[in-house]
Symmetry: C2
């Protein structure tokens, strides 16, 4: 076992992506003392990525003079509570014991987290969720993921998957999802789903039209694109009704690349949710865009590690 | 303020219904030492109900010799965290400060809880959820409600409404619900929804056909009734997919009058959920009927009061 970490130790946050790995070293006060971005190729093996990030971490620490007391690592994939990455298609990894590998390489306890849940931690501690105890956070990107904070605690569920709100059935018997369900929220409002629906609406050729094309067409006043965006926002709002009723958040945060491309989705969804959710569940509820953009996962990985390992 | 309760104190559980009030007095070991059922008429005012239940409680305690250290009260309605019953249509109550009234009448701290959430507590501590830390519980009755336990804690949400899973959008743009949303789970699988859908399927006259009629017709081999029940179970299963993916329970418990009338719904829903939820979220997940029937709310109110006020 590792020695007990103290509140004065440095905490390392890492976000492993398909082409780059971000590192952030945070001091006892919670402020970032050093950062680095590495070009990495996860498809060449997790051993190599871990060795490269450990080398970089040692460089960062020797510059700062201190001791890494805990490590948090964010990956785009499904992670078990024991730190095993069950599946991470974008990295080409499955069954990788990343938690143990990182802990061994750095001599510090590690915790591994899905990148969307990591971003939720960052948004909670540093972004639009700061000061709230009950949050629902949704990220609309290539896929749709999220995170749930309830009475000041992030939900993990029995298998570390809690927060996978993109795979909530929104249209029973509806569109096929990339998971094996039909009618998931993701099958309507994700980047891939918007592109598919745009193709069906006659806005472009299969596998050629993108969500960006839809945004440009909408900007140019194309009625089909305007209708598609409106419908997407309304569907998102209908999903929010269920999340607000079932989970009781005080704030709902919506972020991700799709929202950056279609920021109006937040207002459309908000109108539907405020008109349709149970009044008792809606008292003082606010629905807002995410504040953090690129570095949310790496900062969130730090927060999770601090919360997991450091004495407060 | 009330004096601090100790683990040796008696705990009183109360379930206030439309025509009767159930009381259960539980000792330090957790076992029921006395019970009583009162005929009550909540529509004649909350003051009267509270006075009657306080009289009954004093009788129960004088028989037992002890001190009531905490009170838990279950009501069929929406309850704020401060113990105010915002709305309880079946009791004719709105804006009733029940928590303060009960505490004053009995000289002990009180906590008020929605009856379905109370039943979830009972099912967790004494029923099909015993020993589990991550549960989703759904009750299909006249309406549909539920409760969520995550990492050993019952979720309340910011307004005490968490667990209102019946008002999750399952069919966007679908059937009108008794709340102001469309397409809620409740609008398909509750007692009233099954009756409405049965009428539309030609199984009886509007406002005359009941879920019981559907059960009888199904028993008699009516093809329309068989199809209706099958479809109801499949819709329930599609909702479970979202709850399993988003919340990560290890066990899902389904109870309520509709399940007592159509026990086969559990197996139909289970088949859909196990085939459609994310494999990572399904590891060792079991989907089972509720074990407790009539006295779940009163026993759950006891458990909530013990958890809230007693030192363990």
């Amino acid at each position: 076992m590792h020695q007990r970490s103290s509140a004065n130790d440095l905490v390392l946050g890492v976000d492993i992506g398909g082409t780059k790995t971000e590192l952030a070293l945070v001091g006892g006060s919670g402020s970032v003392v050093a950062r680095e971005r590495l070009s990495t190729e996860p498809r060449r093996g997790a051993e190599r990525v871990v060795a490269e990030l450990a080398d970089a971490a040692r460089r960062l620490v020797s510059d700062d003079a201190g001791r890494i007391g805990a490590v948090g690592v964010s990956v785009a994939g499904q992670v078990q509570p024991d730190g095993v990455v069950v599946g991470a298609p974008n990295l080409g990894w499955s069954g990788v014991p990343l938690g143990a590998m990182v802990a061994d390489a750095l001599g510090a306890p590690s915790t591994i987290v899905n990148d969307v849940r990591a971003a939720t931690w960052a948004e909670w501690r540093h972004g639009a969720g700061r000061g709230f105890s009950d949050l629902v956070v949704l990220y609309l990107g290539t896929g749709v993921g999220g995170g749930i904070v309830s009475s000041g605690r992030m939900l993990h569920g029995a298998h570390g998957t809690a927060g996978e709100l993109g795979h909530t059935t929104l249209v029973a018997g509806g569109r096929r999802c990339h998971c094996r369900n039909h009618g998931c929220l993701e099958a309507y409002v994700s980047g891939w789903a918007i592109a598919e629906r745009a193709c069906e609406a006659g806005l472009g050729a299969p596998r050629a039209v993108t969500a960006e094309d839809v945004a440009a067409l909408r900007q140019a006043g194309d009625a089909r694109a305007i209708a598609l965006v409106q419908q997407t926002g309304e569907l998102l709002g209908e999903a929010l009704v269920g999340f607000i009723n079932g989970l009781g958040p005080k704030r709902v945060i919506i972020g991700g690349g799709v929202i950056e491309g279609f920021p109006e989705l937040v207002a459309i969804a908000r109108d539907v949710a405020l008109a349709r959710a149970l009044p008792a569940a809606l008292v003082d509820v606010t629905i807002v865009p995410a504040l953090l953009v690129n570095d949310a996962p790496v900062l969130g990985a730090v927060e999770l590690a601090r919360d997991t390992f450091l004495e407060r």
